[in-house]
């Protein structure tokens, strides 16, 4: 291969790589950008209907209710202005408790947020950076699959 053809080849390879990367990225981005809304925004109808999004707030004291013997749990999260009821039927994260800030991942159905993933966000204490990820990890991974 002459230097010129080699250069041409490199350029084509790089362009193909960049092009492929761009297409993949845009496509994947489009489907996987999850917006975050608080209960007030949800109450104001800002959250997209029928689409997955994330919601965050404090778990209202005394709101956690469970049908005895069933995995399904209901609780209310609030931003102290508006509240949203959340339904979840998997195991709650270790750090889930009343008064705790949580993030839930799911969609609205009949005025109730049906979560497929619940994350407890904060520890009471300082957390070393290399393992701070674990807070988000004390959850069922991937949720959807």
């Amino acid at each position: 291969m002459t230097p010129r053809r080699k250069r041409l080849f490199s350029v084509v390879a790089i362009l193909a790589g960049v092009g492929l990367a761009a297409v993949v990225a845009l496509k994947a981005f489009d489907n996987n950008l999850l917006y975050f809304y608080d209960p007030s925004q949800v109450a104001a109808g800002m959250a997209p209907a029928g689409k997955t999004f994330r919601i965050g707030g404090m778990v209202t004291k005394g709101s956690v209710a469970r049908t005895p013997g069933s995995l399904e749990v209901r609780f209310v999260i609030t931003d102290f202005a508006k509240s949203v009821t959340v339904v979840y039927d998997q195991i709650l994260p270790d750090l889930f408790r009343e008064g705790q800030g949580i993030i839930a991942h799911g969609r609205m159905r009949d005025g109730v947020f049906v979560a497929d993933d619940v994350l407890a966000k904060h520890d009471e204490k300082y957390m070393p950076p290399e393992v701070a990820k674990s807070l988000k990890h004390a959850i069922p991974p991937e949720g959807s699959t």
């Binding site: 994330r54 707030g57 609030t78 102290f80 800030g101 966000k121 009471e124 204490k125 300082y126």
Partner: protein, 181 residues
């Protein structure tokens, strides 16, 4: 020739983004936490709890009605609280606004020892042993500091250790006419 500067330029731009984000975090205009302070502008939760310094007495927020006060959530187990303690002492000396401590999930004996050793910046300290009051205040970490207005509304909140500079920056503007800086 210039194309060889592209990587340097790209990283410089990235650095710019980081500097911008850090600056906004420093100014309190960007909160990377997703749950924003929900209490701001809302009535402060009330509580009645036993006092740490004298367990036979009660700390009652009703007695503070009509005045501006500061609520500081701390614990002897909390490193950030030790870090901010000297700042709290200085603030307590420089202002007439009372600081009410909520000793969160702590041992009373240890708390008294801590205050005896490091000094007591609090007008009153309440013992929240089971953490129920902290839940009302939406506390998710210690230390946290709240400023409550004379009409009982939460005006400002600081998450993490306080310093005198932070105090002046975030809380100072509410304190004019309250006899302290």
């Amino acid at each position: 020739m210039w194309r060889h500067f592209a990587p340097a330029a790209a990283f410089l731009a990235l650095g710019g983004l980081f500097a911008f984000a850090l600056m906004r975090i420093g100014q309190g205009r960007l909160d990377v936490h997703e749950i924003r302070s929900p209490l701001l502008g809302r009535p402060a939760p009330t509580f009645v709890l036993p006092s740490v310094t004298d367990p036979s007495r009660l700390v009652d927020t009703k007695a503070l009605a009509g005045r501006m006060y500061v609520v500081n959530v701390w614990g002897t187990w909390c490193g950030g609280c030790r870090e901010e303690h000297s700042a709290l002492m200085a603030i307590a000396h420089s202002t007439t606004v009372p600081i009410i401590g909520i000793d969160w999930k702590d041992d009373g004996q240890q708390a008294r020892l801590y205050l005896a050793q490091l000094g007591n910046p609090y007008q009153q300290v309440a013992a929240d042993r089971d953490g129920r009051v902290a839940i009302d205040w939406g506390v998710y970490g210690a230390p946290e500091t709240f400023l409550v207005s004379s009409s009982g509304v939460v005006l400002e909140k600081q998450v993490g250790p306080l310093s005198e500079a932070l105090w002046a920056e975030k809380f100072g503007r509410y304190l004019q006419g309250e006899g302290g800086s």
